[in-house]
């Protein structure tokens, strides 16, 4: 109840409310401690632990059904987890209803009250918390100014565009000065151009407020561009939690390597392993050095070596650690050309190369040699069961 009281006393100090709407309240840290959630026999979230720092923007990224939305609903208090603890600030909030947790939430479909005007929507939470009328009015004005919707205050939600509706949802969620902001697939319903604008706007607001923000998304670009850290989830389990650079450049698991960005997956067998580095003999007929993130691979183990298309280059001279093949297909994509290369064992490898205006594409059938830009860009993982 601490947050509730402080929010209320804050609201009633009315004249300052407008000014403080743009001030920077400190965000709070959030800990999900060993969260498990089961629906009947199926496990939606499996022992997920996340420590989110105050003021951080964290994306929960994963395909549909990975448990990210369930995790968000548990955090908001709409669902009680089967096991584990949720800690917001220094309070364990498991027994608190949504209202007591100090969370602001923006739903995927925005869930604006259709029978209320924009101003009434924004005022809803303030009135529910018993703020004085003047304080409500001042705060609503401040919030609408913040999301640039002053002119729309008396419109109904259905009279607004998708982007405007999202702004109202954001203003409504921020009006109650939550200590955490939760965004559920916030950009899924927006068209592509508007999406980028709103991403920038939300990111700016988040920075300005310093509010701890947790965003659920299935869109890796969205996660990479907006988040300070990304938690990649698959089938209810946390695969990796790290900065966008970590997740993209140093994926910890085969799933992350495949789900975030694109990767060539080459099968082979470990010939030598020492520390975090291994030599993998590929079925394509070459031995490549690779990083082994989980260090669980030993000589003789079958392995999958992942290397991103942009981390391969087409070599002109023969050298060790090259994969020989022939060009199968050339796809010019504007700034880059994607070549589909067929290797000796019949596998296919994608490689991208910057496209120079006027330069001729390599024609299908041309023999080429593929070379990783560095051994650090190759990562070898154990072959998952059933693969």
């Amino acid at each position: 109840m601490v947050a509730l009281h402080s929010a209320r006393s804050h609201l009633q100090s009315s004249p300052q409310a407008a000014a403080e709407a743009t001030a920077k309240p400190a965000g709070v840290a959030v800990t999900l401690d060993g969260i498990t959630h089961r629906f009947g026999a199926s496990t939606a979230v499996d022992n997920v632990t996340l420590e989110i720092k105050a003021g951080e923007l964290v994306a929960l990224l994963g395909p549909s059904g990975c448990g990210k939305t369930t995790l968000l609903r548990i955090l908001a208090g709409f669902q009680a987890q089967t096991l584990g603890r949720v800690v917001i600030g220094d309070r364990v909030v498991d027994s608190l209803p949504p209202a007591g947790r100090g969370v602001g939430i923006v739903f995927q479909n925005y869930a604006l009250f259709p029978h209320m005007t924009v101003a009434q929507n924004v005022a809803y939470g303030l009135e529910a918390r018993g703020a004085a009328r003047d304080a409500v009015r001042a705060r609503v004005e401040a919030m609408l100014g913040l999301v640039k919707l002053d002119a729309m205050r008396d419109r109904f939600p259905k009279q607004l565009s998708g982007g405007q509706q999202q702004r109202v949802a954001l203003a409504r969620a921020l009006a109650i000065q939550p200590s955490i902001l939760l965004l559920d697939e916030p950009f899924a319903a927006l068209d592509k151009n508007l999406r980028l604008d709103m991403q920038i706007e939300i990111k700016q607001l988040q920075r300005r407020f310093g509010i701890t923000t947790i965003m659920v998304t299935h869109d890796q670009e969205e996660a990479l561009s907006m988040a300070d850290r990304i938690a990649v989830l698959s089938r209810g389990r946390l695969e990796q939690f790290g900065t966008p650079e970590d997740v993209y450049d140093r994926p910890g698991t085969l799933f992350v390597n495949g789900f975030v960005g694109s990767a060539n997956q080459l099968r082979g067998r470990v010939v030598r392993a020492s520390g975090s580095v291994a030599e993998v003999a590929l079925e394509a007929g070459t031995v490549l050095s690779a990083v082994i993130p989980d260090a669980a691979l030993a000589a003789g183990d079958p392995a999958i070596l992942c290397v991103r298309p942009e981390n391969l280059r087409l070599a002109t001279e023969a050298a060790p650690q090259q994969i020989a093949g022939t060009v199968d297909l050339a796809l010019p994509l504007g700034p880059v050309v994607v070549y589909e290369v067929r290797t000796a064992d019949g596998g296919q490898v994608k490689v991208t190369e910057p496209r120079v205006a006027g330069a001729a594409l390599r024609t299908p059938g041309t023999p080429v040699r593929l070379q990783p830009v560095s051994p650090q860009t190759c990562r070898a993982f154990a072959v998952p069961a059933g693969a």
Binding site: L4, A76, G77, F78, P97, P98, A99, V103, G104, I105, F107, N109, A111, F113, P114, H115, Y124, G125, A128, R129, F156, P157, K158, R172, A173, I176
Partner: protein, 296 residues
């Protein structure tokens, strides 16, 4: 009295009307049927009500003057309209939680509930009404229970009382209230209540500020159907109400069948119809006012 126009239960008004081609001709058979079997009798009814005497020899407004000149007639009309209000209010009070329970239940519970809700519609009104006679009679279930528990000294008079009639009508008309309510409540986005809760509103505030206003169209439709059905429920009114209370449908029946005063029967039919239409239009206005913002 089957002259109540069907209320609009479909909810959202179609925003963009497609250009009308020749499809309207498909409605011709029904239109012809209505013209012959509904509009014509209605006009005849109006014509008959304009005869000044029971023998139907001269025209005049005598029947209407007679109706409004006698407080007994006005009392019958008033008690009939009031009966409708009581039944509608109680049906809403009991029906709303039932509809809410339905929308919040799992699929298996929903099938069970919908069966319970629809079941009364699948039995004849006469059967349902006789069941109430068995329940409310001197030697009925309620009285036997009260006597055996020692809660009453002698059998209570339940049958042929207004309380008994209202109870029976509430049960008989319940599906007409619950079904439109279920339709509206099922359409509500569950995220709205989650949003309300996250913003700090308790369950009652969420209900009063979000659920209730957004379910107004269903409430209006349900009340409309229940009201129209309750005031015109000739069978239940006659059997459970007995001869002790007189409502408009029996009054019309008496004048027609027993007293053969067709012009007076026609006149009170018209008065009744217009009164009920007035109430129905009032409901409709409420519904239209609420519909504007409800369906985003």
């Amino acid at each position: 009295m089957t002259s109540i126009t069907a209320p609009d239960l479909t909810g959202p008004a179609t925003a963009a009307r497609p250009r009308i081609g020749r499809e309207w001709t498909l409605a011709l058979p029904l239109a012809a049927f209505f013209a012959v079997f509904f509009v014509t009798p209605l006009l005849l009814l109006v014509a008959v009500s304009l005869y000044a005497d029971a023998e139907m020899t001269r025209f005049g407004l005598d029947q209407y003057i007679r109706f409004f000149g006698d407080t007994f007639n006005l009392a019958v009309l008033g008690s009939t309209l009031l009966l409708g209000v009581k039944v509608t209010a109680l049906t809403l009070l009991f029906g709303y939680p039932l509809a809410w329970l339905y929308t919040r239940s799992g699929p298996r519970m929903q099938s069970a509930l919908i069966l319970v809700i629809i079941l009364p519609l699948l039995t004849s009104v006469v059967v349902r009404t006789f069941a109430w006679i068995v329940i409310l009679g001197r030697d009925g279930i309620v009285n036997n229970l009260l006597l055996s528990l020692g809660l009453a000294e002698a059998p209570l008079r339940l049958l042929y009382t207004e309380g008994g009639l209202v109870a029976a009508l509430v049960q008989v008309q319940m599906p007409l209230m619950v079904l439109p309510l279920i339709t509206t409540l099922s359409r509500l986005d569950p995220n709205l209540l989650d949003a309300s809760a996250a913003l700090g509103a308790g369950p009652w505030r969420g209900f009063l500020k979000v659920t209730l206003p957004l379910s107004l169209p269903g409430i209006v439709a349900g009340c409309l159907l229940t009201y129209a059905a309750a005031v015109t429920a000739f069978i239940t009114q006659s059997l459970v109400g007995g001869g002790q209370m007189l409502f408009m449908p029996q009054y019309i029946y008496q004048q027609t069948i027993t007293l053969h005063n067709w012009p007076f029967a026609a006149a009170i039919s018209i008065v009744f119809m217009v009164s009920v239409l007035g109430v129905v239009m009032l409901f409709n206005l409420l519904g239209r006012a609420s519909k504007g913002y409800v369906h985003a």
